[in-house]
């Protein structure tokens, strides 16, 4: 894959980019970016502080962020625009000491045919001492084809001393199958915050797996998953927080069920140190009747009330 500056992509990608990475077709992306379309590079630009290069041994890119880089955003969207594509990509992020950046990922899979359209992104994050990253990821599935739309992201994060990673991930409808696997290993004083929102409908199936190892003193993890399962869809949430030292860990799984939706939640806390403070909360159920009553008392119909409650819940 050659280094490119000009972005050239098809109309399906153009539509998806608007949704998954707030792409403005008039101004394009500001700063560094790499657009992946149907397993090819459809546009790339590095900036002075953020360098994007192709891997030589396997598909994917290395994103290197210089130490001390502040206030920059790098975009790395990936789109699969037709069926019969099985995209596999390895992206590695090296975030230099003291950097503070935003990474906007996001993935769209489109199928108009009967074959599967799949994107499998394997991401690794290496955060150096004191680095801070806000990682934003939005997933969608589009198209009327009968082929399954699948997105199976794997994220492995390594957080050095006092670094901070916040992952803000959203999947709202259209993705037929997804298995999201996220792991993190934390050194002293590091912190990971995960905010996951998933809505499934129809026959969709979503599985989320988290594993966090709290290895350095005073490190912490906060995992919050909010999900809505409608139609005949199914979701599963598995999380493991290992507290191996003095640390704090919190996970919360809140799910709303509608129609025949099903949700399994299996949170695990493994404390291997007397000063590991680990907490888990989980609540699964339909929308509380009193919530609907309250919004109806403001003049909303029952249906409008349910939509508002779900919209707020997944905001």
């Amino acid at each position: 894959m050659s280094e490119m500056n000009k972005a050239e992509f098809n109309s399906v990608t153009a539509e998806m980019l608007k949704v998954i990475s707030d792409y403005d077709s008039a101004t394009g992306f500001q700063g560094a970016y790499n657009i992946r379309q149907d397993s090819q590079c459809a546009g790339r630009r590095s900036s002075e502080n953020i360098t994007i290069t192709s891997k030589t041994d396997k598909p994917g890119i290395d994103i290197r962020i210089k130490p001390g880089t502040k206030g920059e955003t790098v975009y790395i969207p990936a789109c699969v625009t037709h069926s019969d594509v099985d995209d596999l990509v390895y992206n590695d992020f090296y975030v230099g000491e003291g950097a503070d950046v935003v990474i906007v990922a996001g993935c769209g899979v489109h199928s108009d045919g009967s074959e599967t359209a799949r994107h499998n992104g394997i991401h690794r994050f290496f955060l150096e001492k004191g680095a801070r990253v806000l990682y934003k990821e939005k997933h969608i599935g589009t198209g009327k084809g009968t082929g399954l739309r699948k997105i199976d992201p794997v994220t492995d994060a390594y957080l050095k001393e006092d670094s901070y990673l916040e992952m803000d991930t959203v999947q709202l409808r259209g993705v037929d199958r997804t298995t999201r696997s996220t792991s993190a290993v934390l050194d002293k004083g590091a912190k990971i915050v995960v905010r996951e929102r998933i809505m499934t409908d129809g026959d969709e199936d979503a599985v989320t797996k988290f594993k966090v190892e709290l290895n350095g003193e005073d490190c912490g993890a906060d995992l919050v998953s909010r999900s809505v399962a409608r139609g005949n869809s199914h979701q599963a949430f598995y999380s493991v927080i290992e507290g191996n030292t003095r640390c704090t860990g919190h996970s919360a799984c809140d799910a709303i069920l509608a129609e025949n939706g099903r949700v399994d939640a299996q949170p695990a806390l493994n404390a291997a140190n007397v000063d590991a403070a680990l907490i888990h909360e989980a609540a699964i159920g339909k929308i509380a009747g009193e919530q609907i009553l309250k919004l109806c008392s403001l003049g909303l119909t029952r249906e409008e009330a349910e939509e508002k409650i779900i919209e707020g819940f997944l905001k």
Partner: protein
């Protein structure tokens, strides 16, 4: 003006909670009071449409609203502040106040609404109306959602519950302001003397019935006398004339 005609409401296991209540709520500020378990909250729920009566009618400004659901009543101009505020994960104070007002609100407007219940808007507008708020905070926001509606008839179920003294004084002022500045009428369920003292009319409900009702100046002294005499003001009438007739 809301007219209640022979309202009867039973809970599913058969106990009669509201047992033939008839009255006209046509003053600007009516306070419904009476002992716990007497049926006050049930009456408020029947007015708001949260519960439907087994028999009897409710007439709002000439329209029979008995068979209307809670949404239709709200659209017609009935607002209801729940005794126990409802919590939402995800909906912010701003979201709820905008849903109540039926439009987007400026920071100035949000500030005005929250100031009426003794809250500083900047601290609250973007907070979730979740269990993270204290009981008193949630209660004041609940009241603000009703103020935001500017409704024809606003029903408040024990607005004082869980509110600190300073905020309560502010709230009493707010009810007085509403009474003097808008055309809507207020029905407040309360045990508080401060609120009873600003009522135009007082209705005493006990055992699912109206024990007595009338102008504040006629009823309040009876209630207070009953309190100071150590006798429940809603106790059964006594031969020599007690608080309740």
């Amino acid at each position: 003006m809301l007219e209640l005609k022979e309202l009867v409401w039973k809970i599913p296991d058969g106990d009669t909670i509201i047992n033939g209540i008839s009255c006209r709520l046509d003053s600007r500020l009516t306070v419904i009071t009476g002992p716990n378990g007497g049926g006050k909250t049930s009456l408020a729920k029947l007015i708001a449409g949260v519960e439907k009566p087994d028999s009897g009618r409710l007439i709002l400004d000439g329209t029979d609203i008995t068979d209307m659901d809670i949404t239709s009543r709200a659209k017609l101009g009935v607002a209801y502040a729940f005794q126990q505020p409802v919590r939402f994960k995800g909906l912010t104070v701003r979201d709820l106040l905008e849903l109540s007002a039926g439009k987007k609100l400026s920071v100035g407007e949000l500030c005005g609404l929250l100031a009426k219940v003794g809250l500083c808007a900047e601290e609250y507008i973007d907070r979730e109306m979740s269990a993270a708020l204290s009981g008193g905070e949630a209660k004041r926001i609940e009241i603000a959602t009703v103020l935001a509606r500017g409704a024809k008839l606003s029903v408040f179920d024990e607005p004082e519950a869980g509110i600190d003294l300073w905020s309560f004084a502010k709230l009493v002022e707010t009810f007085e302001d509403i009474r003097s500045s808008t055309s809507g009428s207020l029905v407040i369920i309360s045990h508080q003397e401060r609120i009873l003292s600003i009522a135009d009319e007082i209705v005493v409900v006990a055992d699912g019935k109206i024990r007595t009702s009338g102008k504040r100046d006629d009823i309040l002294p009876l209630l207070l006398r009953g309190e100071f005499s150590g006798r429940c003001p809603a106790a059964a009438p006594q031969k020599n004339g007690g608080a309740c007739r």
